[in-house]
């Protein structure tokens, strides 16, 4: 646990003691502002059936910047260490591979969560800056938080895996983006082919769009929670073995 803590803070420092973390934070805050503005404009144009949280998070612009965050946050994690050779120093120190994997994952996940502070602060601002009754409830904001946190888990784990695959940051970033897009389009299959195809329930089950839609309506289902936790564990398990493969390959 001590080793984990040391590595975790080292990774966290790498994000926030350099311009890198702040640049991503600025980018995320800017995009969150755009998306909210877009949603508010929709509300001022005409009456909306859904709440503000739902409209904000169902914008296509949301998915665009949401998917960009993960490659940027995670591509550096392992590939940079293996390119510069510091991985050798790290793994010949008395540390266990799972400590390395978990600390890197946790640090980038925490950074990801920090990026969402502005977005949820916006909703709070709405209630204190305007005197209209907020067009959303606390439960819907909470649901959105859960959705962001859950998707963040899986997608950060995807990024870790992509980064452990290669020593080039660019390739790691592209592989991560590729994985996320494949996941996204698996969720969109039923939109294209209709929900009468045989595997429709499967595609609906893995669809992040569906999860986000349900949760931003305040509907908390345990199935997506189990889905995200188990797939995250699986991707981290793969990352662990990719790194450890070096130690036992023939």
């Amino acid at each position: 646990m001590r080793i984990f803590r040391i590595l975790f803070f080292k990774e966290l420092k790498a994000y926030f003691f350099s311009p890198f973390g702040w640049l991503i934070l600025a980018f995320a805050a800017l995009m969150q502002g755009f998306v909210l503005t877009e949603a508010l404009e929709a509300f001022s144009d005409q009456a909306q059936r859904e709440n503000l949280v739902f409209v904000t998070f169902s914008s296509p612009l949301f998915w665009f910047y949401f998917f960009v965050l993960f490659p940027v946050l995670t591509m550096r994690l392992f590939s940079e260490e293996s390119r510069s050779g510091t991985l050798e120093g790290l793994l010949t120190a008395p540390v266990q591979t799972w400590q390395v994997v978990l600390s890197k994952f946790s640090a980038s996940y925490l950074t990801f969560l920090i990026l969402w502070i502005p977005a949820f602060f916006h909703f709070y601002l709405f209630t204190i800056l305007t005197d209209v009754p907020p067009p959303f409830s606390k439960g819907e904001v909470g649901g959105a938080m859960i959705a962001i946190a859950l998707m963040g888990l899986l997608f950060t784990a995807c990024g870790c895996l992509a980064s452990a695959l290669t020593s080039s940051q660019i390739i790691a970033g592209l592989v991560c983006l590729g994985l996320l897009l494949v996941h996204f389009f698996l969720g969109a299959v039923t939109n294209i082919f209709g929900d009468t195809i045989p595997a429709a329930p499967l595609f609906e089950f893995v669809s992040s769009q569906n999860h986000l839609r349900d949760l931003t309506r305040g509907l908390v289902d345990t199935r997506p929670i189990a889905y995200y936790l188990s797939t995250t564990a699986f991707f981290l398990f793969l990352t662990y073995h990719l790194l450890d493969f070096r130690r036992w390959k023939p």
């Binding site: 001590r2 080793i3 040391i6 590595l7 080292k10 790498a14 350099s18 510069s84 050779g85 510091t86 050798e88 120093g89 790290l90 793994l91 010949t92 120190a93 008395p94 540390v95 266990q96 070096r246 130690r247 036992w248 390959k249 023939p250």
Partner: protein, 310 residues
């Protein structure tokens, strides 16, 4: 301290290390020599647990390098080739981070960080970013990192690679001083360095151990070591048969010098000295003799003899 028994490593079809075995006892400074691509770095990486051996085993301080990797890694201070460091950290910050990873904490971490910075001459640059340091200083940071947890065994992969002569001298002195407390295994291809610092040498080539002994034993047992040169005024055909008849002599080659004297090169078995016999013979036969010398080999010649391809 280190016991290696028939350790092998192959990368696909390429056999990088082929059943090497040797031992290092506590307190030794061992020079690990070999031409480029001989398998030095691979062997060191296996010992530090970074690469798994394909077959064979090795024990460090009685612990198996594969099964008890973590225990082994606690006892080793390893400085990899080209010294990879986190260049965005400051020197002191880096050493504190590495020290903490290796299990130091609190006042002991503070004390050891100050000590290794002092030993390696880093106190002046402790607040500098590692990326602004010169190669020599980076090398010292790597060495300080290897030393920080007071390991029993230091494994240094080309510690003086790319340094200028003054820096090499400083590092060599440092290694000699460290030899009092630590067992050191260092790989290099600078032979003069090994002659000066190491009390044991292991030479590998093509993944195989060619020799493992003290530098002086290696030098005295090399093929050229018994060779004696004599300069006489006596005709060649008179001298050659007599000297050739000595037991230890394999061959005598004579050549006539410009001033009419003859120089004979006497090829004899290593570890023999035929000078006295030849001197007595010349005195007995009243041969005019003006030079008689025995070849003193260098480690470089041993190295070339053992690793030359032709």
């Amino acid at each position: 301290m280190i016991e290696i028994s028939s350790l092998s490593k192959s990368y696909g079809r390429h056999l990088a290390v082929d059943k090497i075995s040797f031992e290092v006892t506590r307190g030794d400074i061992v020079g690990f020599l070999g031409p480029n691509g001989a398998g030095k770095t691979t062997t060191l990486r296996m010992l530090t647990g970074f690469l798994p051996p394909t077959s064979g085993a090795a024990r460090i301080a009685g612990k198996d390098i594969f099964r008890e990797s973590l225990e082994v890694r606690r006892r080793i201070g390893y400085m990899p080739e080209n010294v990879p460091l986190y260049v965005d950290m400051r020197v002191k910050e880096y050493l504190r981070f590495r020290g903490a990873l290796k299990g130091l904490s609190g006042s002991r971490l503070r004390k050891r960080t100050a000590e290794v910075m002092e030993t390696c001459g880093l106190t002046d640059v402790r607040r500098k970013m590692i990326k602004t340091l010169s190669k020599g200083y980076r090398q010292r940071v790597g060495l300080a990192d290897a030393l920080i947890h007071e390991p029993d065994l230091l494994i240094l992969d080309e510690p003086t690679n790319g340094l200028d002569p003054n820096q090499i001298r400083a590092i060599r002195k440092l290694i000699q001083n460290l030899g009092d407390k630590h067992t050191i295994l260092l790989s290099t291809h600078i032979l003069s360095e090994v002659e000066m610092t190491c009390n044991k040498v292991v030479i590998i080539d093509g993944g195989k151990v060619k020799a493992a002994d003290t530098p002086s034993n290696l030098v005295s047992s090399m093929r050229q070591a018994g060779r004696v040169t004599v300069e006489l005024q006596t005709p060649k055909n008179e001298v050659e048969p007599i000297i050739s008849s000595f037991d230890e002599v394999t061959r005598v080659v004579g050549e006539t010098l410009q001033d009419g004297w003859n120089r004979f090169t006497v090829f004899a078995a290593p570890k023999t000295d035929t000078r006295l016999k030849i001197g007595n013979l010349a005195a007995e036969k009243k041969w005019p003799l003006r030079a008689l010398s025995r070849r003193v080999g260098t480690l470089e010649e041993v190295f070339v003899e053992l690793t030359r391809k032709d």
